[in-house]
Symmetry: C2
Subunit: 148 residues, 2 copies
DNA sequence: CCTATTATCTCGTTGAGCGAGATACACGCT
DNA sequence: AGCGTGTATCTCGCTCAACGAGATAATAGG
């Protein structure tokens, strides 16, 4: 018989799959591709962290080469989700800024899921929250470290 | 200031991203595409559950149409990861069976991460495990339900 | 300034996945 | 048995995301 911990491992995998499908639904409903959604999420993360995002850094974050990055930003710009802004200091750079409406669109779609997650977490005490937190940190670090 | 629960929400998202990247690394190291890896995982899940997997069901599970499914199975078969077996009862069906070596390959790659996760979980008591389990179930169900 | 380096874009190509339709088998129905 | 309807897979032609190679433009160092 398998270790009882395996149930949680499979649950975690199922969550990852569901979250992926959730993004994919958002993508296809808005005429976008999974990569475009990942790009918008990356851009919003950077914005929340108060960092500027250049075309190159965006492409690197998504594992695209320069040609693919240009095509991606073209696509997002054509759809009105981002703007290209030439770098102030270094005029070779192209800063990619998310449009407010894209942010609102994302919040409208992902908001309910986030709210529900927060609501679930409010049902736990400090020790239980610490367990969830440290398990997720552990898996994230293990997945990030394995194979470089 | 943001709710403290948001840290865990972002952690969960980070885990999903890392697991995705982990699969992607496995894919590119073995000359495969993300879809091929998802297909193999689906096939192994079915095998563990003792179910037969037809070409059609596999394609449906991955959201591919019939043409894409044929191409996918062609690709996997050419690489020696699966075999096509004509259905016994219904000769229109094509059962897709994973090759033992593909199973071994997957276990060699994902095994350490799974082992590490189980090891992490062994550090918690029953109440903490229950918290992790119910949180993951809750998020999985919420992500699955949102937008159909 | 002249050269090396860095950031982005252009061009031509590959290949995953799609839509439409062909093919092959299964299961009634009479 | 013979025929039509439904179902499973495959073939063909196409689109478009992403790649490799190389062009273009701006910065940084000697």
């Amino acid at each position: 018989m398998p270790a009882p911990e395996m149930e949680i491992v499979h649950l975690l995998r199922a969550v990852a799959v569901e979250l992926g499908l959730h993004s994919a639904r958002f993508a296809s409903r808005n005429g976008m591709h999974p990569t475009d959604v990942r790009a918008l999420i990356t851009l919003m993360d950077a914005r929340r962290a108060g960092e500027e995002m250049t075309a190159g850094r965006l492409g690197a974050a998504l594992g695209l080469n320069s040609a693919g990055t240009t095509a991606l930003v073209d696509r997002l710009e054509r759809a009105g989700h981002v703007r290209r802004v030439r770098g102030e200091g270094d005029r070779r750079k192209v800063l990619v800024e998310v449009d407010e409406r894209a942010v609102a669109l994302g919040q409208a779609y992902f908001g309910p899921l986030i709210d529900r997650s927060v609501e679930l977490l409010r049902g736990y005490d400090e020790r239980e929250l610490a367990a969830v937190r440290s398990f997720l940190r552990g898996v994230r670090d293990a997945a990030g470290r394995e194979g470089e």
